[in-house]
Each structure stands twice: as C-alpha cells, then as structure tokens.
Symmetry: C2
Subunit: 361 residues, 2 copies
C-alpha cells in the first residue's frame, strides 16, 4: 500500500492506494468521528463490492443506499434520495457518508455530505480509474444542472480516500480508457516526465498491468494533491486541473449527460486545447501531434462529436465556471508539461479553432 | 445608522441598522467583488421594496427573481429556480445574490449562494423583524426537507447585512410578534438586562415605536454576533441560539410548513423549554411564569398545537441536528439569562413534560 497526504491543515487527509484495501476497514474506521455510516453506491458497483466493504467495517451502525448508475443521474432529484435515506434512518451530524463507486457517486455523495445538516463527514472509496486518479481527491463535490456540468456543489474535503486497485479488474475497457484521459492530463499540466512515462507504458496500462496502473494512480494523485494544497478553493493555480474540461463539459452537456463518458469528453477537450494552443503559436506542432497520438493510442476520441457546431460550444462555454465578468479563461499549453490559465487569447482564434474542429471552416 | 461587526477573520462583515437603508446602495456596492447581482425576493416583499433597492444600486448588471412567499416554499424545488435563473442569465462566480425578504428568502438565497458554482457572494437585506434580529446574521443557510426543518444547507456568511427599519412599517402584526419571539430568546440565553428591558418596553415594541424597535434589533444582533464569532460552525456554544427551536421545529414540521410562523413555534418552544427546566428544578417557578407572561403579552402562543402528542414530538425531535450518537441535547434554562446546552436531563422528565404539554398527563 502507498499512502499520500493532501496537506490542508486541519482538513488534511490520506490517500491510500493498493490492492485489497476494500477489506481493510480499519483505514476507514480510524478516520470516523461518530459510530454511524451510510454507504452510497450504484447498481453496477454495489453487487461487486458493497458486501466486502460492509463486512470490513465491523460493528458500526451501517446503512446502504444503491442509486442508478450514470452521469444522467447526477442530479438534484437523485441527491434528494440520499437526504431522504439519511433522515428516514435518523443519521445525525456525526455520521459519515461512504461513497463507493466512480466519479458520479463520489461527486454527488460528497455534496450530500457537504449539505446534510450543514455538513457531515465523508470518505471516498473510488472504484474506477477516473475516480481514483482525479475526482476522489481535492474536495470538489457537485451535481449537474441541465444548463451546465457541476454547477451546484461545494468544496468539501473527504476524511480519507481508499483506492483499491483490485476494483479496476472489473472495470469495462471503455471506462479504463476514460480514466487514462485524466492521467494524461497530469502529464500535460506540469509533469512532462510523467507524460513520457505514459507514452512508454501505455501498452502496459491498457493491458491492466498492476504495477503500471498503481504507478499511474500514485503519480496522478501526487500531482493533484500538490496543486490542491496550494489553492484549495481555486482562486488561481487550481484551475490548471481544468485543462481540457471547458471543451469537455460543453461536449457532455450538448451530447446529453451519460452519452459521452466524462473522460472521453476530456480526451477530446485535451486535443482541442492542444490544437488551439498550436494555432496561437504557443505549442509546437510536433508536440500537438504527440498529444493527439497519445489520446488516439489510448483508444479515446480526439475530436468533438460531429453534430456540435461552434455556436453550441460558445454558448455552453460562456457558462463555464472560469468565466469572470464576461471573459472566459482557458487552460492552454506552452509545452507538454507547461499549461497556463489565460484570458489573453484572441477571441477570433477561439472562434476559428471551433469552426475548424466542427467542420465549419 | 448603527453598524455592528461580526468578527470572523477574513469572513468578517458589517450589519447596518437604521431607517432609509434600502436607498443607500453604496453600503452594498462597496462590499461587492464583481459587477453583477441577482436580487431574489418574494411576491409580498417585491412590490413594496424591490424597485427601491434596484434604483439605489446604480449601474450594476442586475437581474431579479420573485418567488412565492411562505415557509412551504423553502424547498429544493424552489431553490432550483434560483439556479435556473443564474444559469439562464449566465451569472458567473463573481456574482452576488441579494436576499430581499424575510427568513425564508434569506436562508434559501444564502444556500443558493453557498452552492452555485461551489460558492458565490451574497448580501442579506432582511425586511421582517425576525430576519433582522436573527436569521440574517451568522451564516446559517438552508432549505427544509419534508422530514425536518433546515436539514439541507451550509454555513456561508453574507458579505453584509442591511436592516432597513423602515421596512417594518409594512409588516403584518402577526409577523412583528413572531419576530419578538427571537428578541425574547436573546434575553433568555445570556442577557437578563435585555429581558428586563423587553418586559418594560413591550408596549412600545408592539406599537412599533421606532427607537424601541431599533434598540431591540441592535441588541439582538450584538448578542448573536458575539456568540457566532465564538463558535461559527456550532461545535459548542452556538447551539444556545437554538433555545426553543428543538420544540419549535417539531411544531413547524408537524403542523405543515407555513401554518405556524417560525417565530410562533419558537415562542411556544421557549415556554416549553422554561417549563421543562422548571420541572427539573433548574429554573424557579416565578421565572418560568415570567417567561410565559412575556410571551403571552407579546400575543404569541405559549403552548404547542392541541393536535400534537408526545410521540410526534419525540419522533421529530429525534431528528434534531443536536442529536449526537442517539442522545438529544436540549437548550434549557438555569435562570432568565442563563441558558445551557445539556444532555443531562432524565429522559422520563422530557417524556412527562411532553405528556403534560399535550394533555396526556
């Protein structure tokens, strides 16, 4: 087992990564502040892992709630089912919510914890690669709104993150690939040696080599923990973690939540950010092609869906959380491993790039 | 104008109290961090005061949203209408929500601000006595759930509180009286001289004497600001502010939100807390009668609704936010001006008192 720490003063917490961790209930129990917990999972993950987690937790007062699986269920209505359960079972302020599943479960359960009785504890038990490398770490919680991804939420840090690498064995190939998009993102942001490593180890990652996956998770979490510790509430540098996400969120919203996986939309978004950066002359063409080649080799989409046009992109991107007084900040690339947050791009370059992406130019 | 401060480090903010403040837009403008704001009000308050506030704010980018009036609308569904408006009008993270109305508007708009894009600014512009003396100060935001009052929410401090005492002129008598319940509460918690003052000045308060009302608001806010500054997130002493509220929330939930005003339920709850304290021998009988007499003289209910029984009270109180690992803490009285938080009361005394209150004993 590898343990990292997210350093946030009295809200610091450990990330445990390794095989067999679902059976190590003491990792969770030692972080609880009360004696009751609600495990929230989904219909796909619960049959596989819920009993194992329950058994490992011993004699806590435990309840469970199983929700439907998919991004289209990350809504206020489904969130309300968590509140219903908590109140029907009389969970008090000292309870802990355990999020067992992928990014949708983690984000939604985290927001339920942030808002139930004005805030209770929660623990992330991510079972997908995407959740293990990205969404379970850093305290961003949210549900979607029909007009925008993750528009309703809170910053609320978990008490710990338990990433059992054994749970990746059951992950569909499509979801494994989607997780790799976020792994590649960390290399692109500020870790060029990690990008090189991903290029070299991609076949092993796709073949689910345990050592390669564990290293990818460890390094992704370490990169993310460092950025989050610097800027917990995204007043600056943390927005780098949104590389590819402004384009990606627009794709997810336009396509209908759940049709593109989040990681797939991010993959296309990373390529779009690279190509816009190349158009601006910030990123060399060869590096841009390296990004596209790695995304394609990972079996991920490198283009937006053909039915989207520039207007739709601009309309949805105008609602991005990085818009400030009418100006949209984008995360763009000066180099592989050299991302920056910028409002200093010409608006017509963005427009021209979107036209090129969507076949209008 | 009187100005108090809630001292919370970098989240400190002023409370301005006085006549004509709705016309003093600079008090709000100087606290804004962006150039856009959404005024949220209700169908009762908006026709009276929204235009005045709008005109005073000058050339901000302003939008408005008018919601139905009443505790029964403090729900996730109505909250969602605030998100809809914010997203449809593309409000970004630097926007400010302005809550113009009573406690329902303040609590709900505050929670919308806490959760929109993971947190934006808001300003409280309370127009009822209850909101001016209590709910607008301290950062507790929430909506109700069918199974419990204020069960979904966040701690989120406003940027400032603007209490225009002129707005009390339009307040129905019933709501003025409801506000006095919270004023009396501050005297009971830790300010016996204020309790004496309220007894002496009650006729002036009921006659809406401007100087008396302003003094009641100032002193209530000062008492509350002091307690909140000591314990922002209610890990201890802040729970004193819930005197009367455990009984009161049960009354509101059992009666159907909106049938009893919050202040009315708190008034009955204050009397129930006093009588239970007297039963325990903590509060003298003469002081208990003084509490009941002041509540009655203010035209407020001193008994729970006749249709409630002990079982209903115990069932609803078991979901109170002060329950910890199965034990309900109550705020009780050792004296007028001497409240304490206690789990040290005999359960059968609570049961016997509820039986006596509800006619079963």
């Amino acid at each position: 087992m590898t343990t990292l720490s997210v350093d946030l003063g009295d809200r610091s917490y450990p990330i445990h990564i390794g095989p067999g961790l679902l059976g190590r209930g003491e990792l969770i129990r030692q972080r609880l502040r009360g004696n009751s917990a609600l495990i929230v999972s989904n219909e796909t993950v619960a049959p596989l892992y819920l009993a194992r987690l329950r058994d490992a937790l011993g004699d806590l007062r435990l309840q469970q709630l199983v929700l439907p699986d998919g991004e289209q269920y990350k809504t206020l209505d489904v969130l309300n089912r968590i509140y219903d359960k908590l109140l029907a079972e009389r969970f008090d302020r000292r309870c802990t919510l355990l999020a067992l599943g992928g990014g949708v479960i983690g984000d939604m359960v985290g927001f339920a914890a942030a808002s139930y009785q004005r805030g209770v504890d929660f623990v992330q038990v991510p079972t997908t690669l995407l959740a293990q490398v990205d969404s379970s770490v850093g305290g961003k919680t949210a549900v979607n709104h029909p007009l925008g991804k993750n528009m309703i939420g809170a910053f609320h840090q978990p008490r710990c993150v338990i990433a059992d690498t054994d749970s990746l064995a059951s992950l569909p190939d499509r979801e494994l690939r989607a997780g790799l998009a976020e792994v590649i993102k960390y290399g692109l942001i500020d870790d060029p040696a990690f990008f090189d490593w991903i290029e070299a180890r991609l076949p092993a990652l796709l073949a689910r080599d345990a050592a390669a996956l564990t290293e990818a998770i460890r390094r992704s979490c370490a990169d993310k923990a460092r950025i989050v510790a610097d800027d917990e509430r995204e007043s600056g540098r943390r927005a780098l973690l949104n590389l590819g996400h402004t384009f990606g969120h627009a794709i997810e919203t336009a396509s209908g939540y759940g049709n593109w996986l989040h990681g797939e939309a991010v993959a296309a978004g990373l390529c779009m950010a690279a190509r816009l950066s190349a158009r601006l002359g910030w990123l060399g063409d060869a590096d841009c092609r390296r990004v596209e080649a790695l995304i394609a080799a990972a079996g991920l989409p490198d283009r937006p869906p053909p039915q989207m046009d520039s207007e739709t992109f601009l309309e949805l991107m105008a609602r991005d959380k990085k818009v400030q007084d009418g100006t949209l900040k984008l995360v763009l690339l000066d180099a592989i491993g050299g991302a920056r947050i910028s409002a200093d791009y010409p608006a017509d370059a963005l427009r021209a790039q979107l036209d090129a992406e969507t076949g209008a130019a």
